[in-house]
């Protein structure tokens, strides 16, 4: 075995490791790897990286964007369900930045065909068109604190076209004095609309707060559910 510089390029080693060569070209590189320490080192690293990627397939966060009456809607999902729904963003890069902050180190992938995302688009379109009153979509809230998860699970049970007060929801999760904490947890809802945090309002009749884009959108969603057109 020698470490004399060789004339095989990094791309050729890569092509070999990628399975892109065949016949005599492939054989020549295979044999070269036995002779050249440097190229073998390259091949080992490429193999290792490939193997790591293959074993990480389940960690990707996939996203998709489509037009709605609220403007471009961005949705993202893990293998387990929706993790983020967003709008009011300048472009896809802004959405990816958001995902990177929420899911550090997880690979992001624009994947309109992914099962949860195609379902989300279809169901949201039906919802905006007034043809759907409940979402049949898995959500993955694992990245959230346990309290937020409980609040959002409780909010999911509020039927279409109805509203409850922050205090009602606090009682439903057995924290009757935690109305303010409930409001904060709803404000952090990563999958608005699908988890209908807009159906939670203040006991004095005012709307309370809303995360994405502010109160106008909460108003619009409640009007949509009351049977009025949204624009």
């Amino acid at each position: 075995m020698s470490t004399v510089p060789c004339n095989v390029s990094e791309d050729e080693i890569l092509a070999y490791c990628a399975g892109d060569l065949d016949g005599e070209a492939e054989l020549a590189i295979a044999r070269h790897l036995a002779d050249c320490d440097l190229c073998r080192d390259d091949a080992i690293v490429f193999t290792l990286l490939r193997d790591d990627l293959a074993r990480d397939a389940a960690t990707a966060i996939r996203w998709h964007a489509f037009a709605t009456p609220f403007g471009t809607m961005f949705v993202a999902a893990s293998d387990r369900g929706l993790v983020r729904l967003s709008w009011n963003l300048p472009d896809a890069d802004a959405f990816e930045d958001e995902l990177r902050r929420r899911f550090p180190g997880r690979p992001l992938l624009h994947d309109p065909g992914a099962a949860h995302l195609a379902d989300a688009e279809r169901q949201l379109r039906e919802y905006f068109a007034g043809r759907r009153t409940r979402f049949d979509l898995p959500v993955d809230l694992d990245a959230l604190p346990a309290f937020d998860r409980r609040v959002l699970e409780a909010a999911r049970q509020i039927p279409f076209g109805t509203t409850v007060h922050y205090g009602d929801l606090a009682r439903r999760i057995d924290h009757p004095r935690a109305a303010r904490a409930v409001g904060n947890a709803l404000g952090r809802n990563p999958v608005a609309i699908v988890v209908p945090c807009h159906r939670v309002v203040r006991s004095d009749g005012s709307l309370g707060g809303y995360g994405i884009g502010g109160i106008t959108y909460k108003q619009k969603l409640l009007e949509l559910e009351a049977g009025r057109r949204v624009g």
């Binding site: 075995m1 036995a34 193999t47 990286l49 490939r50 790591d52 990480d56 990816e96 690979p107 992001l108």
Partner: protein
């Protein structure tokens, strides 16, 4: 999927048809000496080479190469052998790097109990992989998606090109650029440091 598995994948997908014993025996007779030398040079140990050679014959029997005009059984056998060796070398290197990182840690962790070797190895392994994942996450979008679709999702370049809205050549180029960039950034994965 490991390299060795990938090499056989098209054959595995076909209806199972083991190679007739005489064919494998003929290949062994014709190619075993040079394959053994090849493997020994790759992995640096005669025992490991014999072990890998067994794997090659098992693969050749279970999922034999297509034979006929234009086929190249020798090239196929070298591919299966080389990929099996690279898989093994990559696993060994991952383990060495993980241990080195562990030992270099300034913050003392509770030493793993002696009977928990598998669990602690798995933990070290997971940490090493999360580093690779961090670097993948920081690649430019097209490279990141191309390399992910190729290796995590196992798509071919034509399908990747359709997904990314680019040419097949560009899909391949993006995969290559991503792999080279990862290799450059994760310099500690390398052992030969001669320029």
């Amino acid at each position: 999927m490991t390299l060795a598995e990938l090499a056989c994948a098209p054959v595995v997908m076909a209806p199972p048809r083991a190679a007739p014993q005489p064919a494998v025996e003929a290949w062994m007779h014709a190619y075993e000496p040079e394959l053994r030398r090849h493997l020994a040079r790759l992995v640096g140990s005669a025992d490991d080479a014999d072990d890998l050679l067994q794997q090659v014959w098992i693969t050749a029997h279970r999922s034999p190469p297509v034979t006929g005009p234009g086929s190249n059984v020798r090239a196929w056998l070298f591919r299966v052998a080389t990929n099996a060796a690279l898989d093994r070398l990559a696993r060994e290197r991952r383990r060495r790097i993980a241990l080195a990182h562990h030992e270099a840690k300034v913050i003392p962790e509770a030493p793993p109990p002696p009977d928990a070797d598998d669990a602690s190895a798995a933990r070290l392994d997971a940490r090493a992989r999360s580093r690779v994942r961090d670097h993948v996450a920081r690649l430019p979008r097209k490279q990141r998606e191309a390399v992910w679709l190729r290796w995590a999702e196992g798509l071919d370049y034509d399908t990747i090109a359709a997904r990314l809205g680019c040419s097949t050549d560009s899909a391949r180029a993006n995969v290559y650029q991503a792999m080279k960039r990862l290799r450059a950034e994760l310099a500690d994965l390398r052992e030969s440091r001669t320029p």
